[in-house]
Amino acid sequence: MNHRHNRNGLTRRQLIKGLGAASLLPLVGSAPFAIGGQHAGRVIVVGGGFGGATAAKYLKRANPAIDVILVEPNETFYTCPFSNLHLGGLREMDAIAHGYDELEERYGVRVIHAMAEDVDAEAHKVTLSTGRELDYDRLVLSPGVDMRWNALEGYDEEAAEKAPHAWKAGAQTELLRSQLEAMDDGGTFVMVAPDNPFRCPPGPYERASLVANYLAQHKPKSKVLILDAKDNFSKQGLFTAGWERLYGDRIEWVGLSNDGRVTRVDADRLEVETEFGTVHRADVLNVIPPQKAGWIAERAGVTDDSGWVPVKPETFESRQVDDIYVVGDATVAAPMPKSGFCANAQAKVVAAAIAASLESRPAPEAYWTNTCYSLVGPEYGISVAGVYRVQDGVIAEVEGAGGLSPADAPDATRALEAEYAVGWYNAICQDTWGTPLGGRVT
């Protein structure tokens, strides 16, 4: 891996840039700014999704003299946001693909494509799948979610090859898309939706929408059945009104109280069984299982009994282990949802907090916002927004702000929100990975 060694230490260009930027930064007395290639502390970021890539970039923006190493196994990252558009035949995989060139070339982040296999919090060390050990002053974990295999009887990694979750974008997304394309007209797409908390609360319902949109055009006798482990879901009123408007009775949703909770999956027979013994047969079966924080979080000792990561709200430093900060879906950050937007927003707070702590300054006050767009149809967008601050020691929604798209909005507003959804996707991907408008240049 020659490219890595080339970036071991600041290049001349980075040094010049670093010194230049340092002079623009607030005066901090004797803080250890980079002089002659020395760094102002090393931060390792594990995970190159919305949270991790943003943290790496904004750490460098806060202080280019911080040595930032991003550890991410994949060279290409596929986003869960907009992966439902691929499922619905509305977007190529390349248009949800992102890379790490900008982080390396423009911001001087050292990117290592490996798995983080262990964390020794005491010694401040991360061990990589290559065997390499890296020291850190601060560690950022942005591990996303892992599936809880076998939490649903019969649903394990092998079953996911027949009944995909497609809740991590990439091969699973393509598998589910190919199954949907191969399905006969008249078939039923069955989705198993989990109880809270899980990644992307409105995601299953956007997926049902865009699958229905595809079926309406290509397999008009087919249906979507959602079997849900809960009685309420995100943007429920907006989704159900949109479904009725665009798809009539093509989408059927069965909640917990109507025996919607699936307890057993038979991936070979494409059958699921509910709590009270109803068996549903699918032609395409999409099982979104219960989830937990990504594995490395557990390994680092930052998860609690819930399987998620409790954090200090002001900084998102772990409540359990010093100098480890955690962002994104892995954290317990309610009322903030597990969304890419929130991961990006949390990462900026973490970057500012770490840059401050490396200079022994207090962290700036935390501000977070979230906007989740969902597409009910290609020209029918809805959203929920929130603005969050720390109040009385916990993360709280700012009263009077945020909320849902109006229930009675005209079609023009839905069309505008669909357009803004695309604008949002372009912007957040530019902000996170530097991806130019219109997708990755390959």
């Binding site: 623009l24 906007t371 700012v398 507003t413 949002w424 912007a427 408008l437």
Partner: protein, 117 residues
């Protein structure tokens, strides 16, 4: 070099418009690091430093008074065609919105490398 935004330098007219007492606002100053965090949420739809152009408009480099009145209108008035900014603006104090307006107004749209060089 802590960049602050003393309220005295804001146009008096904006203070009259929002109708808050001068004394309450006079203490609202924000460090660069604080502004970076406050402005962080804007980038998710407007691109890094508010530079991106598309269905969501560019906010970098627009005049501060334009951005200020726009943000305060989103918060306090009914602005036609608004989908999301009313819901976002209500999460910030008037002084925060004014500081954000000045922050984005101060970004040089022509020079995308200003932070690093």
């Amino acid at each position: 070099m802590k960049r602050v935004f003393p309220i005295a330098s804001l146009p008096l007219v904006s203070l009259l418009l929002v109708g808050l007492p001068l004394t309450a606002q006079a203490e609202e100053t924000f460090s660069d690091a604080q502004l970076e965090v406050m402005a962080g949420g804007c980038a998710n739809c407007h691109g890094t430093d508010g530079r991106l152009a598309g269905s969501v408009p560019t906010i970098a480099g627009r005049p501060a008074d334009v951005l200020t009145s726009r943000l305060l209108d989103f918060k306090h008035e009914e602005v036609g065609e608004t989908t999301i900014m009313d819901r976002i603006a209500k999460g910030f104090t008037d002084a925060e919105l004014e500081a954000l307006a000045r922050h984005f107004a101060g970004i040089d749209l022509e020079n995308d490398n200003e932070r690093e060089e």
